[in-house]
């Protein structure tokens, strides 16, 4: 457990680039001891908000504080906030070791921290190699290693699993969970919904620069409407009308399956027994995080793809 807890407080944050308001009056809090997922379609303003949190960009209005201090007033920034915003933002001619050594020196951290984080990121064997020759995934690991240098109380990652192999993705997931378990505040953005669902406790969702949701993952998924039941049977065409009579609704009817809403699995099972119908599957289904996210952000998407 780390000694003191730190929160990120975003209040009325607004950022304009010329005539465009890319972040519009956003407020939320990132609590210690949990992983907060940061979601939003492309161009929603996530990276811009993360830049304002880490002092790279100045808010047009509003404020961001970390433990009630502005980023630039942190006495030893790397021990308060570890951030990875862009894994490519490193000079390719340096070795991984030299890069981390310069970062450690800039905050007066002990030299052994460089070895510590290289080990933690599984990069000991490439410590002496030039970063320019690294794959995207290795740069991502290096960036995460850099974020851990000062054992910070707050961690901010912009798409940390981007470019990682399955082993790397699992490593990042476990790392974020364990960092939160140690009482740190972890904020990360990702477009991978399954990753979000598995890693985050809390969600902050933005669309077109505005806050859409600030809630727990469970809460968010539940808000996505009713639960349904997948029913598999040899003759859905006979069973479906019985379900409707009993007050259920049936959709997605195929040769051997259908999706039923408005009834619990118990009720459906009892109804099947009553009509002597054999069910080969009866599975409750929840709306997925992806379903709910798509539904919520439908009106907030700037870049729609089409299938030709």
């Amino acid at each position: 457990m780390i000694r003191s807890m730190t929160t990120i407080d975003v209040r009325g944050l607004t950022k304009r680039y010329g005539p465009d308001t890319v972040v519009d009056d956003v407020s939320f809090t990132v609590e210690p001891g949990q992983v907060t997922g940061f979601l939003g379609p492309n161009g929603a303003g996530k990276s811009t908000i993360l830049k304002m949190i880490t002092g790279l960009a100045a808010p047009t209005r509003g404020s961001v504080t970390i433990g009630r201090r502005r980023y630039r007033d942190l006495p030893v920034p790397l021990t308060e906030v570890g951030a990875l915003l862009d894994a490519g933002a490193v000079h390719g001619s340096r070795t991984a070791y030299q890069h981390l050594l310069a970062l450690a020196a800039s905050n007066g951290l002990a030299r052994h921290r460089v070895d510590d984080v290289l080990t933690r990121a599984g990069m000991e064997s490439v410590a002496g190699k030039r970063i320019g020759g690294f794959s995207l995934g290795m740069r991502q690991r290096l960036g995460i290693a850099a974020a851990l240098l000062g054992e910070p109380k707050v961690l901010v990652f912009d798409e940390p699993v981007n470019g990682l192999d399955p082993e790397g993705i699992r490593w990042v997931r476990r790392l974020m969970r364990s960092l939160a378990g140690e009482g740190r505040a972890v904020l990360f953005s990702s477009h991978l919904m399954s990753e979000m669902a598995q890693t985050a406790d809390h969600l902050v969702v933005i669309g077109r620069g505005r806050l859409i949701a600030d809630t727990t993952v469970d809460e968010f998924v539940r808000s996505g409407g009713e639960e349904t039941v997948l029913v598999r049977t040899s003759d859905p065409h006979f069973f479906a009308p019985r379900l409707v009579e009993a007050g259920g609704a049936v959709r997605d009817r195929y040769a051997t399956s259908m999706v039923v809403s408005g009834m619990t699995p118990d009720e459906i099972g009892a109804l099947a027994a009553h009509h002597d119908i054999v069910l080969s599957e009866l599975t409750p289904q929840h709306a997925s995080l992806e379903d709910v996210f798509m539904e919520m952000t439908r009106e907030n998407i700037d870049y729609h793809g089409t299938v030709a």
Binding site: A58, T79, H91, S93, R94, L103
Partner: protein, 266 residues
Amino acid sequence: MSAVGAPSSVKFTHALRAEWIKLRSLRSTWLTLVCLFVVGIGISLLATSAAGAQYSDATAAERAAWDPTGSSLTSYIVAQLIVGVIGILVVTSEYATGEMQTSVMTSPRRYRLLAAKVVTVTAVAAIAGQSLMFAAFGGGQAVLAAHGAPRATLGDPGVLSAVVGGGVYLTAVALLAVTLGVITRATAGALAILVGIIFVIPGFAGLFPSWVQFLLDYWPTQGAATVMTTMPDADFPYPWLNLGGMCLGVGTLLVAAFVLFRRRDV
């Protein structure tokens, strides 16, 4: 002290140490410095060799204006560009790679960050510039002696001042380069402006309205560079004043660079 060995607050010396680690860990830094000495001393040897060969045929007037110190220091003309590249790259290579984001995140006090860069570049440029000027002087005088032409020693009047002045001049150009890097945030742009300042503008000096003519007294390759000669120049009787003026100009630009660096998003 915490488990990570962190101090209670970050000091300027930490930022300075980080900048030095960053500069020394780039191969390009060392390549540029090697290039500076090879080209700088090479030009000095060539220039003094040519001058020495002509001395025996020189007229009396030419012999009266004989400046062995000045001809051994002509390498400043190319050396200033190379030193300028070092100064520019310290800033623009970070913008080009995105490293500046990392630097600003680890050192959010931006004045401190830029000051650390400025001090590092100044130290490197001063040491390299002074060494180069002394080496160019020594090598050049040896070549003149080999040609049997009169040569200078550091003890002669005005010689030490010219050699040291050359080092100061190169340091000032390096600082100018840093400010250009901060202002343009792009290597090509900063280099183009530096070349413009050093080589192009003096060529158009005659076209300037009279109220800006005075600037040429302190312009790098104009008035300020006369510090590297030992023959009195009627136009610039006090060359250190001209060099001082150039330093003042660079200082003004530096203030602008700090303000911009603080205000702009990274």
